[in-house]
Symmetry: C2
Subunit: 278 residues, 2 copies
């Protein structure tokens, strides 16, 4: 989001990948960890130590399930480390949706997923943006003061206090408020589509192919068709899939199976960038 | 050592490197962690989980400082994991040398190093090997029973119980008992040379160049000359150096500085193999 980066889950080697793909790690001020399985969390301590060694001073916000704070403090205690920056730790609520971040331009909402241990998904949503000034419609006698009033969404008044120009006549619709959701490990949840309604880009795990539905239910993971049906029901823009079981060697078949139901499906491959247009 | 692998220290990404360099991880039954700084220990949980996921059944022995057991159990508890193999955890003694492994052919001794937190080095030493039968000297009337006696180091007796052949006349000196020592993070310790006396191959950290001696003392690390002087005093076979500070871009100068004092110095580069001849 602009110059602010959010790191969502952090498996072993994340700091190596961050370097490999040229991401400025100093721009990360928020790390969100969906749950405490190793492939989603074991890279966090390395990030924390590396920030310390590179002289980070500004606080780092970490959002995680109960227990992650104990894991962090246990590591720090036994390594004899005293960080030179502050960690603001926020407990996620794995039971109900909660707004965990809210700024002028963005809100982030955590919501429960269905997994073997407490797990959250995350929805990133831009707030409604201001209307844009339509330069072509601006009259020649427009003052700087008028401009400022227009920017704030106000009408322009004449000396007697009557509306001279209506705001909506001199401005264009605001740019679209974009949204992204990350659904890490989760079993199929028919209720999830409601939460993801009309989201532009949704990452949803697809650990198994469709013929493994029983096994997926048992292990609290999703199949390709689970992910695609959720995307279809939610009428999302695009679906990203990942977390493919190591038993499979090819990614294409996962994408193909999803596209049987939801054509706008793409694989979340290492280093790929997915932009959302305004 | 033969088909048995010992993993000594385990930074983040170790399992990735193990795969990259084609090491059979199933052959690792002993993991030794010198101390609890992240660059020496953060890869351990990933190894533990991966062994679980790949169906390991045989026990894994882990040797570490006090606290490593708490770190492991805290991770396992919050991830809801119950391993399908047993971990045998051994506390290292950071105060005095201790034999931590002793088999028919090998012993491993931990010994204290000088660092900011409790830290151990490890000495691997083959036990004295049996003398080898010198086939050229074997007389034609030698029975299978005589062979077995010879192998056990016994003399061969005649029917009256007198020595017919002396064991040492029919056998050769045993092969050399090889030794390797790993001195992870440590400040300069003049007493260390005694511990490393005549060891074939010694890894000793060399975080800083020789002009940084003061800083090295302050941070409980070693300079090139510290490592080389230790190797010289101990009369070791070869010296491996590593743990170079990230402030330097070149490794050659570290090796050059060590060779001013101890010519048989080599850099411990990723993936390099150093064999010790018998």
């Amino acid at each position: 989001m602009g110059n602010h980066y959010f790191l969502v889950d952090c498996g072993e080697g994340t700091q190596y990948q961050i370097q490999r793909f040229g991401v400025k790690r100093s721009r990360i001020d928020h790390i969100l960890i969906s749950h405490l399985h190793g492939d989603h969390s074991l890279g966090l301590m390395g990030m924390i130590y590396s920030y310390h060694l590179s002289g980070r001073k500004k606080p780092l916000s970490i959002y995680g399930q109960r227990g992650l704070d104990e894991i962090i403090t246990t590591h720090l205690r036994w390594s004899g480390s005293r960080l030179n920056y502050k960690i603001n730790f926020h407990h996620l609520n794995p039971e109900v949706p909660e707004t965990i971040i809210s700024s002028k331009t963005l809100e982030v909402i955590s919501f429960p997923l269905i997994h073997r241990i407490p797990t959250c998904g995350f929805l990133f949503r831009e707030k409604t943006k201001p209307r844009r000034i339509n330069e072509k419609q601006i009259p020649p006698d427009f003052s700087n003061q008028d401009y400022q009033a227009l920017k704030k969404g106000k009408d322009i008044l004449d000396e007697e206090g009557n509306v001279k120009y209506r705001n909506e006549d001199l401005t264009l619709e605001p740019k679209k408020s974009r949204s992204y959701a990350f659904c890490s490990d989760t079993g199929y949840d028919p209720m999830l589509a409601e939460r993801l309604k009309a989201v532009d880009l949704v990452y949803h795990e697809a650990t198994f192919l469709k013929d493994m539905e029983k096994w997926a239910r048992k292990t609290y993971h999703a199949t390709t068709h689970d992910a695609a049906n959720t995307a279809l029901d939610a009428e999302v823009g695009r679906l990203l899939i990942g977390h493919f079981s190591a038993r499979y060697k090819e990614v294409d078949i996962f994408v193909d199976e999803c596209r049987e139901i939801f054509p706008e499906t793409y694989p979340a491959l290492e280093g790929e960038i997915f932009e959302i247009e305004e």
